[in-house]
């Protein structure tokens, strides 16, 4: 990309992630751990730096302590002298006395940031999604089309498109209609079995963005949301184009996940322990980075017949000790200690968890800082589990952060 052109990246990281409760009880959705060592926002930020974008504001508001710490510790890698930065911008109530109302409001409230930087182009991303993308191709497309707004689009089967913003395009990829969460989604003109949905990735010319934000801010009936208000108000009036997502994940099927629910979250993690996961974390050409503290390597002990430390089909991180326990088909974050004769399968375990002897745990998500006493069973008696914990539609049991017995 030509260096003279000024691009600012705004990452919207204010999402509450209510359907991910209780994982979002104490943290914003972008800060939810994923794949052992990552947080959800690491994917978006890695994409940005892999795309050469190093002027990034992260707009945060809701329960942002955990997110702020992660960004401070893990992403403080830019050179301000070279004009690079990743800055956290909490809701400051500069305009009005309210917290951000919708996604557009969070940008509107921070118009002063655009004033300082005066970028030509603003790239707006969501900190909620997991995917790999080179934003350079998107920005290139935006310029070639001489667009005011370009929306990156992903194809999903028509019957699954109702929970997204659905685009209707013409043969030049110009957007002719946009409906947020339509009951009857418009099929793609290229393939009638799929609909084109917005990935929440927008490239705006700064001028038009500012104009439309002010216009929207003055509308009484607006909820100040890009999908519900800004984009529909631009379609048919401004030059709005759809950019078909180009996946850097390099697999047969394109990968983009809006990890909206506990079950979707669980499945996306479980994908990683497959022999051939769809999400490729091992591509050195498109690295995903995160914050990691210094840790001793993971370790297993006891190789006896009865008392055997075993880890199969799993991800296991630094600082873990598997002492005479059996771990199968699970994703384990750093600093987890498993004691003898316990069996853990199909589970996701966050940092700093201790599992005592003779526990049996199946199909569970155990959040941070949990101590599980001797002989506890989870995932074997749904009725019992439902009394004590959140259980998802598909039967995934969630043990909340810091839970005590």
């Amino acid at each position: 990309m030509n260096n003279k052109e000024k691009i600012i990246t705004l990452v919207l990281a204010g999402g509450k992630g209510e359907r991910l409760y209780p994982l979002t009880r104490d943290r914003a959705k972008p800060a939810v751990p994923f794949g052992g060592i990552y947080r959800i926002i690491d994917f978006t930020l890695s994409n940005a730096i892999n795309s050469g974008l190093r002027r990034i504001y992260i707009l945060v508001q809701y329960k942002s302590f955990s997110l702020q710490r992660h960004i401070r510790e893990g992403w403080n890698i830019f050179s301000r002298e070279l004009g690079e930065f990743v800055d956290l911008v909490p809701a400051q109530m500069r305009i009005g006395e309210e917290w951000y109302l919708g996604t557009a409001d969070s940008v509107f409230q921070n118009i002063y940031l655009l004033n300082q930087e005066k970028p030509d182009i603003v790239l707006i991303l969501s900190g909620d999604h997991i995917y790999k993308m080179d934003y350079r191709s998107l920005i290139q497309f935006h310029k070639e089309k001489n667009a005011d707004l370009t929306i990156s689009v992903f194809e999903v089967p028509v019957n699954q498109a109702s929970r997204f913003g659905v685009l209707k395009i013409d043969k030049d990829l110009r957007v002719v209609d946009f409906k947020e969460k339509p009951e009857v989604p418009e099929p793609s003109p290229l393939n009638p079995e799929v609909s084109l949905i917005s990935m929440g990735i927008y490239v705006f010319n700064t001028e038009i963005l500012v104009k439309r934000l002010f216009e929207d801010a003055k509308k009484k009936d607006s909820v100040h949301d890009f999908g519900k208000n800004i984009i529909p108000s631009m379609v048919g009036r401004d030059k709005v184009f759809a950019f078909p997502f180009i996946d850097e994940n390099k697999k047969e099927t394109k990968y983009w996940r809006d990890i909206g629910t506990i079950d979707a979250y669980y499945e996306a993690n479980m994908d990683l322990v497959n022999v051939e996961p769809i999400l490729n974390l091992y591509d050195k050409d498109w690295p995903i980075r995160t914050y990691q503290e210094q840790m001793p390597p993971a370790k297993t002990v006891f190789s006896g017949y009865d008392r055997k430390g075993e880890v199969l089909d799993s991800i296991i991180c630094g600082g873990c000790i598997v002492s005479g326990a059996k771990i199968f088909h699970s994703v384990v974050s750093p600093w987890v200690h498993f004691h003898s004769y316990s069996e853990i399968s199909d589970s996701i375990i966050f940092e700093n968890v201790e599992i005592s002897r003779y526990c049996k745990i199946r199909k569970a998500i155990i959040d941070k800082d949990v101590y599980i006493p001797t002989g506890i069973q989870i995932g074997y008696d749904e009725k019992e589990d439902r009394k004590r914990f959140t259980v998802s539609e598909n039967g995934v049991v969630v043990i909340p952060k810091g839970m005590k017995w």
Binding site: I95, G96, E97, K118
Partner: protein, 118 residues
């Protein structure tokens, strides 16, 4: 009912001149000498339109405008300043009209009429 205008302008002579001219057009005019005082009047009185200078002590016009946008989204605002360069400040785009002061006060009157829908 007479429409009411709030004129926020720090320079006394201009404040008197503009308010008299607007009163001649049949409006009720309140005045304030800076943004803070102006915001207080917006809170207390029923105001239909604001004429806003930019360079002022205490709270300047752009900050005042951002507060107005937060409080009373739909209140029409005319920025009335001697300086055209504030147009490059995105905040100024929040006003309905950006008018550069000149000796021709009719320009202001016309814009006021336009915004008040008369």
């Amino acid at each position: 009912m007479k429409k009411t205008i709030l004129l926020i302008e720090d320079e006394e002579n201009q404040r008197i001149l503009y308010s008299e001219e607007l009163e001649k057009e049949g409006y009720t005019v309140f005045t304030a000498s800076d943004g803070l005082k102006g915001l207080k009047i917006i809170e207390e009185k029923q105001i239909d339109l604001v004429v806003l200078d930019i360079r002022m002590p205490e709270m300047d016009g752009l900050e005042t405008l951002s507060k107005i946008l937060g409080e009373r989204k739909n209140l029409p605002v005319i920025i009335y300043t001697a300086y055209p360069h504030y147009k490059t400040n995105f905040m100024s785009w929040g006003a309905d009209i950006y008018l550069v002061k000149s000796s021709n006060i009719n320009e202001l009157k016309e814009k006021v009429k336009e915004l008040l829908g008369e």
